[in-house]
């Protein structure tokens, strides 16, 4: 059977729909965070906990990662093997650094005695930010899998399709992070 164009585009549609459900998931956790962000139960609040400098660094690194991801996509479109390899490794490295900083930040908080069981506010903070971090970790695994696939088979129509999905996912996580950055950190620290 010859596949119709409609059916070829099914995975992309499916993936977009999945992202919408993921967005709903984030939205409900965001809503929970909004409800609980002042419920500090006598514990520390956002301004006492967060260092804007670290968070700004994190944000820049994640944005850079997204940029590399876009460049990798262009390289793939133009079938430039070395460029693709370079940019996609850069994408993953930046993602890994972001994740490392986040884990370090979490460890720091827990070390200071402000873990997720301290208050409802910190529960929702760790969960919301941690959930994003978990997505990043899954994305990193996925990216590595794609690189292995690339190493074995090189470009092929299948890699382009799979990388396109990954790229959408990666940009999606970027957008979610912008929301976290704004709501959790900027508004949290300044309001």
């Amino acid at each position: 059977m010859i596949r119709t164009k409609e059916q070829e585009s099914a995975p992309m549609l499916g993936f977009w729909l999945y992202l919408m459900t993921d967005l709903m998931l984030f939205a409900t956790v965001f809503a929970t965070f909004m409800v609980l962000r002042h419920a500090t139960a006598g514990g520390p609040s956002a301004p006492e906990l967060f260092s804007m400098k670290t968070v700004l660094t994190e944000t820049m690194i994640l944005l850079a990662s997204s940029l590399f991801c876009g460049l990798a996509w262009l390289a793939l479109r133009h079938k430039k093997r070395t460029d693709f390899l370079m940019y996609s490794i850069a994408t993953l490295l930046a993602g890994a650094v972001f994740l490392a900083i986040e884990i370090q930040e979490f460890a720091q908080l827990v070390h200071e005695g402000f873990g997720p069981s301290t208050s409802a506010f910190l529960s929702s903070f760790f969960t919301l930010v941690g959930m994003h971090g978990f997505h990043i970790a899954i994305g990193l695994l996925w990216g590595i899998a794609l690189l292995i696939m690339f190493a074995k088979k090189g470009f092929g129509s299948s890699l382009a399709r799979k990388f396109a999905l990954f790229a959408v996912f990666w940009h999606f996580l970027d957008i979610v992070w912008i929301f976290i950055f704004t709501i959790v950190y900027v508004i949290g620290v300044h309001a």
Binding site: Q7, T21, T28
Partner: protein, 651 residues
């Protein structure tokens, strides 16, 4: 190493010990039978690893019917207890057992019966109705099913070891928090729903893409069979609402396992947040269950009245309206929480508005019967029982939607009667009608009609006996979920209700008997031409049982009820050249593997076996990677082979 596993968690009450012994024995008996008849290989190859949507659908339905038996056994226990336990009589069960049983009853009936029947029927019917050979993502479909099974095993596993939640089917905190409920019961409940719920979410995506991308050429959205419309609308609801269930359950699980404070009553937690989240999912869920049933009724009425469905466009509009409004009504589940009068009034009025499109659908069905030629087969009898039952439920629903009235009848037996009214009348009758209607398409023979009608009558009478007394009890001030009471004047009502439940159990018995008798008489009941009911839609254009590739030749569509008009107009017989090679998915055992690993993961978290949970989680990722790297997942069926098979089927 062993988490909180301890022998203290073995069941120690007669009722639970009985179940805990009977269940493994039944499983062992099945295993022995499979070994004796050397059917393991057949089971694995033909069923468990199959990616054929029809087979996955049949497996869903089988699991759901087994769970229906469990759920009804629970119901019988509940009503036996309340029939006896008045005054000093303690009845049959301890309070804890009773509370676990009603929690299990609700959880199982919604998640593992209603959802199972729904996904089962959709899997069987929807691809056939849109002229597709399969769903968009066959392997994902298998994963969804096995996640459903994993959840089902966890729910029932609680009986064997550790006990189930006693917090009601929606498990409101803070009752379900560690402070009041430190045992594993609530965790069983959380992880069973979580795992099955993620399966449902994946199915939602899968079916939506299938409907949007895999319809036969010519089938525009407004030419889809109405059942497919109902599935599309339902799957949109699934995609929007199930993430909210996932997050509500996850946050509760975090509270319980990592000592967080989302919904605890101290440290700033907010239980009301949970109640909002769970009902923001829970109300759409009700429509998720009932809309496909509405679709089934539409097909059944049109077919057995031998008449075009009245007001197709109105039906679609009503479905879409219900979909929209189902998201702005959730607060009506807790009018009594003390929100302001404006908030209550808003949600109350939104709720009532849903009654309008629902009422319109009923009128459309009635006028489909008008000037038809009605055959009173079992599916049609189910439909008539539905109209009677569902209409009563609709009325009591409108009553409860008036906030000032809800203040009086909320959480009373009146509420219990109301939601059984709509769920049994709307959902269960619909899916039983659907199973009867489409049975020959999958198995190649019809179900015994008279036994089917008897089953419907028993359900209907049993329903009235079981639930009308509960309305009366509600008006007397009996609250839900009580295991004993002091007022002796309530007892006669509870006794009648118990008789009603037994009558319903008889109805289920007749349904199972019907399947048995039909298998026995399958030669007599054989469907020879693939179109036993003089059907209207594409599924009746292929032989019964439908071939695993559904259609030998890709059908094209130019109108609603395509097959009905093709039969009238006559179509040319296909020639050898009309057959083309087709690509089909190969079987895969990896779906089973994911289900198994998720079951292990859930069990490990429940018992705090962190190393095992981590292992299972890594296992899931490995399986997904294996599948991603596997490029050999499809095979080609040649045109020649299709042609030969079609020729044989015609002879």
């Amino acid at each position: 190493m062993f988490g909180r596993l301890s022998l203290d968690y073995l069941p120690h009450e007669p009722a639970t010990i009985g179940a805990a012994v009977a269940m493994p024995l039944a499983l062992i008996a099945i295993a022995v039978a499979l070994t004796y008849y050397k059917k393991w290989r057949w089971l694995w190859r033909e069923w468990l690893t199959s990616l054929d949507a029809k087979k996955i659908g049949v497996m869903y339905i089988v699991v759901a019917i087994v769970m229906l038996l469990r759920g009804v056994a629970d119901a019988v226990m509940l009503r036996m207890q309340t029939a006896l336990a008045v005054g000093d009589n303690p009845g049959l069960f301890s309070v804890d057992t009773f509370q676990q049983v009603f929690t299990a009853h609700g959880t199982i009936m919604i998640f593992f019966v209603a959802m199972g029947l729904m996904f089962g029927i959709i899997n069987v019917v929807m691809p056939l109705q849109i002229g597709a050979r399969d769903v968009a993502f066959p392997w994902l479909n298998s994963v969804s099913f096995w996640l459903f099974v994993a959840g089902m095993i966890l729910v029932n596993g609680a009986l064997l070891f550790g006990g189930f939640s006693n917090g009601g089917w929606l498990g409101y905190p803070p009752l379900t928090e560690l402070q009041y409920n430190p045992g594993p019961g609530v965790d069983y409940w959380i992880w069973a729903l979580q795992i099955a719920g993620i399966g449902s979410l994946l199915s939602g995506i899968n079916f939506t893409v299938t409907i949007l991308k895999k319809r036969a050429p010519g089938m525009t959205l407004m030419k889809m069979p109405i059942f497919v419309w109902s599935v599309l609308v339902t799957m949109v609801l699934v995609m929007i609402s199930f993430p909210m269930l996932t997050s509500a359950l996850s946050l509760l699980a975090l509270d319980r396992t990592l000592d967080m404070h989302f919904f605890t009553s101290n440290m700033g937690g907010n239980p009301m947040m949970y109640i909002n989240l769970i009902w923001a999912w829970g109300h759409p869920e009700v429509y998720i269950l009932v809309l496909p049933a509405f679709g089934i009724y539409s097909e059944v009425v049109a077919t057995f009245a031998r008449k075009k469905l009245f007001g197709y466009k109105t039906m679609v509009a009503a479905l879409v309206a219900i979909m929209f409004f189902s998201f702005v009504v959730w607060q009506h589940h807790f009018f009594t929480m003390g929100a302001g009068a404006n908030v209550n009034a808003f949600f109350g009025i939104m709720t009532m508005i849903i009654a309008i499109p629902t009422g319109v659908k009923i009128f459309n069905w009635l006028f489909t019967m008008y000037r038809g030629r009605i055959r009173f087969t079992a599916p049609f009898v189910w439909f008539m029982c539905f109209v009677v039952t569902f209409t009563i439920g609709g009325v009591t629903g409108v009553l409860m939607a008036v906030p000032a009235l809800d203040f009086q009848i909320h959480n009373s037996m009146f509420l219990v009667a109301h939601f059984h009214n709509v769920i049994i009348g709307g959902v269960v009758f619909g899916y039983l009608a659907g199973i009867t209607y489409w049975f020959p398409k999958v198995l190649g023979f019809r179900l015994h009609d008279r036994l089917g009608r008897w089953s419907a009558y028993a359900w209907q009478v049993g329903f009235l006996l079981a639930f009308l007394p509960l309305y009366a009890l509600g008006l007397m001030g009996a609250v839900r979920r009580i295991d004993h009471y002091t007022d002796p004047s309530w007892q006669p009502f509870f006794i009648v209700s118990a008789v009603g439940v037994l009558t319903i159990a008889l109805g289920i018995g007749l349904f199972v008997l019907q399947i048995g008798v039909s298998v026995w008489q399958r030669k007599k009941l054989r469907d020879t031409n693939g179109d036993p009911w003089d059907g209207r839609t594409l599924e009746w254009s292929v032989p019964s049982p439908a071939p695993h590739y559904n259609f030998a030749i890709q059908p094209t569509v130019s109108r609603i009820d395509e097959w009905w008009y093709q039969k009238k107009d006559g179509v040319a017989r296909p020639t050898r050249n009309d057959y083309k090679d087709i690509v089909l998915p190969k079987n895969s055992g990896l779906g089973v593997a994911i289900g198994l690993l998720c079951f292990v993961f859930g069990g490990a978290v429940i018992w705090h076996l962190w190393w095992l949970a981590a292992l299972a989680f890594v296992g899931v990722i490995v399986v997904i990677l294996v599948r991603t790297f596997d490029e050999n997942t499809e095979y080609t069926m040649t045109a020649e082979k299709l042609y030969q098979e079609a020729k044989e089927a015609r002879v």
